[in-house]
Each structure stands twice: as C-alpha cells, then as structure tokens.
C-alpha cells in the first residue's frame, strides 16, 4: 500500500478518535439541588456503568404469590410499558428499562441516591378503585357466624410488639412483616406470648375485636389487634362466611380515640363504581384543610360513568381504594361528581403525594411485580473505583513502557507510540459504539495494556530472527511482519471468540468487560500491525543509515 495512504489513514483514525472523545455539550437530565432537570452538560462521551457512577439496578419478576399469572411474557410486556412510563415521570438521566428473557424486567437508574423511593415507584401496582361503603350492615349480620367459627380456634398470633411498628412508617419493612405471617418467626422477636394471642378464640372471638365506626360500613380495630384480625380474615372458613358481594379493606390511616390507636376497617360493595383506568391526569397539591392531596382528572367516558354512578349514590359514602387500601376517610357524596376528584393523603408528606400522582399518571401495573435482585451503588464508591482504576492504568502503562524501551530501544519506542494510539482507538471505539464502561471493563482495559504489546513483541522477535539470518533491514522487517501474522491473527481471533461468548452470556458489568476486550483486540491489531509497519516504512524512507542497522 502506498505510504501516503497509510499515513492518511492513521491520521484520519486519530482525528476520528479525538472527535469521538472530544467533550461535547449534550442535553440530559441532571440533578440540580436535589431536583432532576433537563440541562446542558459538557462531558466526554464515554458512558459509565452503574458501578462507576453510582445508581441502582433492579430486576423485576411477576409476583405470583397472590395467584398464578397464565401468560407471564405478555404480562411482563404490559408491565414494561407502565414501568417505563413511571421511570420517565420519575426523571432519571438515561434510565434503562428493558425486558430480559421471558419474564423479567431490568431497570437501571443511574445516579439514584434514594433507592427505597425508586423501588416503591417501580413496584407500586397503583390500582385505583372507587367503592361504596356497605349500607346493609352485612358484617353485623355475619358476626354470629364468624364468632361461632372462631370460638375454638387458637391462633398463635404474633401481634406487633410494643415497639409499635406503625406499619405505614416504612413501606419496605412493613411489606416484610405482612408479606407472609408464617415467615414471621424469622424476623420478629421471639416473645410470642402477648396479649393478642391470649385473646384469640373464645366466645365472641371476632365481634369483640371490631367496634362500629361513624359511618355505614366503617369499623374500628385497635392497632394491637390488626394482626390478629388480618389472620382471621385470611382463614378460608372465615372468608367463606363473610357477606357475599362485599369486600373488606383496611384503611391506610390510623386514628386515635380515647388514648387507643385504631385502624379503620371498611366493608365495601365488591363491585367498584369506577376504576383508575379512566384517569388522564393526577397532580399533587396541598390543601389547608385536608393536608396533602392528589387531584385527578378523568377522561370523557370516565367522567360520564362517574357522574352516572355518583348520582345514583347521593348521600352514600365512597371509599377511594388504592392497592386494596382505603385512602383517607371515605367522603360522603353530596352531588354527582364529574371529571375531577381528589384523594387525601392523611398525614403523609408531600413527596408521598407526588409519588402517588406519578404512579397514577403512568397507569397501574397489570400484575404485581417483585424484585428478583437489586444492586445499589453509592456515587462516592463509583468515583473511588474510577480513581483507582486510572491509577492502576497509569502504572501499568509506565511499567510496559519501561520494559519495551529497555528491551527494544528504538523499535520499542515505535511500539510505545503505537500503544498510545491503541489507548486512543480503544476509548474512541467504546465511545463510538456507546459501550458502557464498567469496573471489570476498566480492569480489562488496564490488563489489555499489558497484552496489547504482544503483537509487537511477536513481530519484533521475528524481525530479530530474520536479521540473525543475515537478511537486510528492509527484508527482515517485511519478513518479520509476514511471518508473525498468522500467529497474531489466530491468537486474536480466538480471544475475540471467547469475548463474544462472554458478551452473550454475561450481564451488566461482565458484558462491559467483554466489550472492552473486543474493542481492545481490534485496536491492538490495527496499532501493532498497521501503525508500527507504517512507522518502519517512514523511518526506512527517511534515513539511509537506517537501512544499515535497526535498533531493535
């Protein structure tokens, strides 16, 4: 190949690499004073993985603990849209939401420093129903039957300990304790004999635990008995004896009455008058009288249905049920309601209202999701990793330079120049293909510095052999490159194949490693074979004495 062409190609590659790596102004979501906003930032276009910049990785699966889901793949597809909407609303820079395999959703949220909240937003099913409270005193009628059923039942109840796990204070902790009572032995204290267990069974087992509230269908249960009542209600016999076409739901709030804390229990008409599917918008707000609220708007069809239904239920109480919990106290329907309504948040803070509005806007999850795995990495840890990785890289380069210069002298200098181009090309390739640089990837990159010179070493040793056979410098260089080629190609291709397998089977960080390895192999072949060869040609053309002796 013409020498001019070779030089132009190398210069062209350098220009392209520098351009690919040049800091540029991009618009992305960044955090300013704790708020995510769109802003312009100037940065080197190299993507850092979660382990280097901090953030959160979640794998979500269909939760089948509350009933089997027939077509999981389809359910995941539907859930994916909702999760994606919610993440977009949540406002994270460059989030990843994708389906993995048949039944899993991968969510990656760079820079998230409140993992609990992110988790909540992703997982909340946000199924909104409007149900009328029971006016027929159905529970009172069923009470004798329930008491009779429970008379002989001894329940080894683990009522909440006096530490007072007020279950709304910590959603995650609460889900742990209510998720499955049989697992409780694992997590709650062992002092199981408590007042609630003592009151289990006996005459009036159920009726003594519930007292009528202030509106039809409302009952109060002392906070200390909530656990026990929940257990009773989950027993199959009890469920069969409950009034038909009614559902029983807990309130999300508690109230204090005469020094005791009560949690309201509502008996509701099972058929909701309307669900959240007609919702078009939801906004958080603060009202002076009701505290934090979420105001919502329905579309035309929803508004029409809502108006019809509410006009039939004037003077009734309407419970707003979110994920099977009654939000606030059911308001009385004064007149027909149209497109707009509101949900009171009780004592919860504005952020809870914001998050609820967010999930309502994004739609409800078609299936409940559970977390299959979660990794969260702090931003400072990521910075520390980058810093250490760069230090290791600089030291590796220094050592390799010393070895190559010490052993091959002038030719070693050519190899070092080629190594510099190798580093440039590899980084540029990573930036160009928007590959994600992870911590193992960084390690692989540092390691590749040591291995990248192998091709040069092979060539140089070959040239030395040819020189030893008495060939001229020019011939020795030509023959050296020619003979070393098969070894270089075979060894690099087989490494590339291994890297490809790693890419296919790896996840997250390991995938980043494979990408770095592949980019490194390509760059090292270009720099060692093409670039160094060109350097030699330039050098041979320039000086006559070069043709006499080669420093190698």
């Amino acid at each position: 190949m013409n020498l001019k062409w070779r030089v132009s190609i190398i210069l062209g590659l350098i220009a392209a690499s520098v351009w690919a790596l040049f800091p540029r102004t991009v618009v992305e979501r960044v955090k300013r004073n704790g708020e995510f906003v769109y802003d312009t930032v100037r940065r080197v276009p190299l993507k850092r993985g979660l382990d280097l910049q901090g953030g959160m990785h979640l794998a979500l699966e269909v939760d089948e603990s509350k009933g089997a889901v027939p077509d999981k793949s389809k359910a995941i597809d539907n859930a994916l849209k909702v999760v994606r909407n919610r993440i977009d609303e949540f406002g994270v820079s460059e989030p990843v939401v994708q389906k993995a395999g048949n039944d899993r959703i991968i969510v990656e949220l760079p820079g998230i420093d409140d993992p609990r909240r992110a988790q909540d937003v992703v997982q909340k099913s946000a199924f909104l129903e409007f149900q009328i409270t029971d006016k027929t005193q159905a529970l009172e009628k069923a009470l004798p039957r329930l008491d009779a059923l429970l008379k002989n039942t001894k329940v080894a109840a683990n009522a909440p300990t006096t530490g007072g796990k007020k279950d709304t204070t910590n959603a995650g902790l609460q889900s742990l304790f209510t998720a499955d009572t049989s697992k409780k032995a694992d997590t709650s204290r062992t002092d199981t004999t408590n007042a609630a267990a003592g009151t289990a069974g006996g005459p009036g087992a159920f009726s003594k635990l519930v007292r009528p509230g202030q509106m039809p269908g409302e009952y109060y249960v002392a906070q200390s008995d909530v656990e026990l009542v929940t257990q009773y209600l989950s027993m199959p016999d009890v469920q069969a004896a409950l009034p038909p076409a009614k559902v029983i739901r807990w309130s999300s709030d508690t109230l204090s009455y005469g020094g005791t804390i009560y949690r309201p229990l509502y008996v509701l008409d099972a058929k909701p008058i309307i669900t959240g599917e007609f919702l078009t918008d939801a906004k958080p707000n603060t009202s002076p009288t009701e505290g934090n609220i979420v105001q919502f708007t329905m579309n035309n069809e929803g508004a029409r249905r809502f108006r019809t239904e509410t006009s039939r239920h004037i003077k009734d109480y309407m419970a707003i049920v979110l994920d099977q919990r009654v939000m606030g106290r059911p308001p009385i329907i004064q007149s027909a309601i149209g497109a707009n309504g509101q949900i009171t948040m009780g004592g919860k803070d504005l952020q809870a209202a914001q998050d609820l509005a967010l999930v309502l806007r994004a739609g409800s999850l078609p299936v409940p999701l559970k977390i299959a795995d979660v990794t969260q990495i702090g931003a400072s840890l990521g910075k520390d990793s980058i810093h250490k990785g760069i230090t290791a890289g600089i030291i590796a380069v220094a050592l390799v330079v010393v070895i190559m210069l010490g052993y091959y002298r002038f030719s070693g200098a050519l190899a070092v120049a080629a190594l510099a181009l190798y580093l440039l090309y590899t980084l540029a390739a990573l930036a160009w293909f928007s590959a994600v640089l992870t911590l193992p990837g960084l390690a692989g990159f540092v390691l590749s510095i040591g291995i990248a010179v192998d091709a040069n070493v092979l060539i140089f040793e070959r040239i030395r052999e040819e020189l030893a056979h008495g060939k001229t410098v020019r011939t020795a260089i030509d023959e050296g490159f020619r003979h070393a080629m098969s070894a270089i190609v075979d060894s690099n291709v087989s490494t590339a194949l291994t890297a490809a397998v790693l890419y296919q089977y790896g996840t997250g960080p390991v995938r980043g490693f494979a990408v770095t390895l592949l980019a490194g192999i390509a760059a090292s072949m270009i720099s060692a074979i093409f670039v160094v060869r060109t350097f030699y040609m330039l050098w041979l053309n320039r000086s006559r004495e070069a043709q006499q002796a080669l420093s190698i």
Partner: protein, 329 residues
C-alpha cells in the same frame, strides 16, 4: 541489542512427567479441599444480601452482630473492608436466601432498619447493596458454566479449521487444565467466586490459548519446513524459538496485572489474583500440557498424508506405549 534467552536449546518436554506430577498434585489438593468444603460463591450466585456500610464513627462489630441477631438475621458475616469505619455485612444463609424469594430487597431493608435503630439515623451510609433472589443466582451459575463450555467448543472449531483437529484438541485440553488449576487456586486462596472472577477465568482461558497458539503456530511452520526430526524435537525447538516472545509478553502482562492487584482496589483484587495465577498456569500448560498431549495424540492417531509424516510414524512401534520423553532418547 538486548537479548534474553536467545538461541536456547532447552529440552523442556523432557520434564513433562515431573511437571504432570506437580500439576496433578496441585489440582487434587484443590479438588480435595473442594470435596471437604464447597467454594465460596458470591451473592450473585448463591442469592443473599451484601451491604457495604460506611459508618461515620468506628462501630463495634459485636453491636452490629447483636442488632442483626435481634432482627432474626443469624450467622451474617461481618467484615472490615478497608478502613475501620467500612464494613461489609453478608447474609447468605439458605433461610435468608429463601426469604428473598418474595422480594430480594427484604433482608437489606431489615438490616438497614435495625442498624439505624441501633446506631442512629445518620450513623452510616450504604455504599453498595447487592440483593439477589435465589432464582437469579442459579441462572447465573448455569450461564457461567455454559459460557465456559461454549467458548471451548468455539475454540475447538476455529482451531480445527486453522490448524487441524489434533492441535485443536491439545490446545483445548491444555486450556481445560487451566480451568482446573485456577479453580484449585481460587479454593486454596479462599477467593470468592463472583461474576468478575468468572470473567477473569475466561480471560485466563483466552490468554492461555493465545500462548498455546503462538507455540503451535511455530510448530505448524517448522513442520512445513520438513526437517528430519521427530515431533518431540519440533515441539522443543518451537518452544525455544518462541521463548523470548513468551518472556516479554508475560512480563508486560504481569506488569499490568500487578498494577491491578496493588492499585485498583478491593473489588478488582480477586480478578487480578486470578489473572496473575492465570499467566503462570497458562504459560505452564502451553509447554507441559499442550505439547505432551499433542505428542500423545499424534502417536495414537498418526496422520496419514501431508508434506511431512509426523514424528510418531517415524517412531518405532515398540515405543508407542512409552512416554514421549523416553521416545526420543
């Protein structure tokens, strides 16, 4: 011109029996130790919870433990990680893993809550949390094994095309040898088997294969020259001829590995250890596994045609059952 090991003529393969003894002993030691106690798999593979906590004040490890025990998280491993304010908490018991089947975050949430209660709301920060449900771990384990086997298969096919099946088989056997020695090394060093370590293992395989290919490439070339010598001699010659290259490349690769080992931090250290050992075992297997195996294969299935009949056909049949080392004496 600075030269090391130039124009050498060592009889490397002569020592193959001793070397085989050493490597078999090492592998048996490792595997035996595996039989007694299973290896440490990381959270990614077993499922469980790992939290790296940065405390503002050096905490009392006993208090961390008692707080966890009170919350029913028994047998968690609490380790200092760097400074005396950094700790990792690892809950990997089967019961804890099972509890995460319902939601992987459960244990992590509990740990954070009980420690906040014990030490105060702002007493620590979770620098890193990994929580993996049981199913994910099993899938990863299967994935890692499939990846290793698949890379073997692909290598075998590629080398069979570029060389021929005898070379390909010998190279793959040498590489599998490295899998075993590296696993033995991991076990004897009490290194945890994580995804990053598996990536390291695959890199070692690639590196070792490289090394074998460089030597085999020379063998292929020397065979074409059609010297009057046995395969045994050709192999020795090729190893000697590629010796300067091997020394140089291993030196630069080792330099980069040392930089990783000492400067890249705790997370990368296991990977660097695997790589450091891999350079040694990869070099070893190219000479003492790949070469003797190739000689053995040639003897068992001699090639019938070709520019040069292989050495084994030149070897008297009475010697076929002997070792390659004695075959040329």
């Amino acid at each position: 011109m600075l030269r090391i090991l130039h124009d050498t003529n060592y009889d490397f393969i002569r020592w193959w029996k001793v070397m085989a003894g050493i490597t078999v002993a090492f592998i048996l030691l490792g595997l035996g130790s595996l039989a007694i106690k299973p290896p440490n798999y990381s959270i990614e593979f077993t499922g469980g919870t790992l939290m790296q906590l940065e405390f503002t004040q050096p905490p009392d490890v006993g208090e961390i433990r008692s707080a966890l025990d009170d919350a029913g998280i028994h047998g968690a491993e609490i380790q200092q990680f760097g400074s005396n304010r950094d700790f990792t908490v690892r809950a990997q018991n089967p019961s804890q893993v099972a509890a995460q089947a319902k939601g992987a975050e459960n244990i992590a949430v509990t740990i954070e809550a009980v420690l906040k209660k014990k030490f105060g709301e702002n007493s620590f920060k979770a620098g890193r949390t990994e929580a993996v449900g049981p199913r994910v771990g099993q899938e990863l384990k299967r994935g890692a094994i499939v990846a290793i086997l698949l890379s073997f298969l692909i290598t075998l096919v590629y080398l069979s095309i570029r060389f021929e099946w005898r070379f390909a088989t010998a190279a793959v056997i040498a590489t599998s040898h490295d899998v075993f020695t590296t696993i033995a090394f991991l076990k004897l060093m009490h290194l945890e088997i994580s995804l990053t370590v598996v990536a390291g293992l695959l890199t070692v395989l690639g590196y070792s294969l490289n090394d074998t290919i460089i030597i085999f490439d020379r063998v292929r070339e020397n065979l074409r020259k059609g010297r009057k010598e046995t395969l045994y001699e050709t192999l020795n010659r090729s190893i000697n001829e590629t010796l300067p290259r091997s020394v140089l490349t291993h030196a630069t690769a080792f330099a980069a590995t040392l930089a990783l080992l000492f400067f890249a931090g705790e997370v990368i250290r296991p990977f660097a250890w695997v790589m450091a050992f891999g350079i040694v075992t990869g070099t070893f297997s190219s000479i003492y596994v790949a070469a003797p195996v190739l000689i053995w294969i040639e003897r068992k299935w001699p090639r019938k045609t070709g520019a040069r009949q292989s050495s084994s056909t030149a070897t008297p049949t009475s010697r076929t059952r002997r070792s390659p080392a004695t075959a040329t004496r």
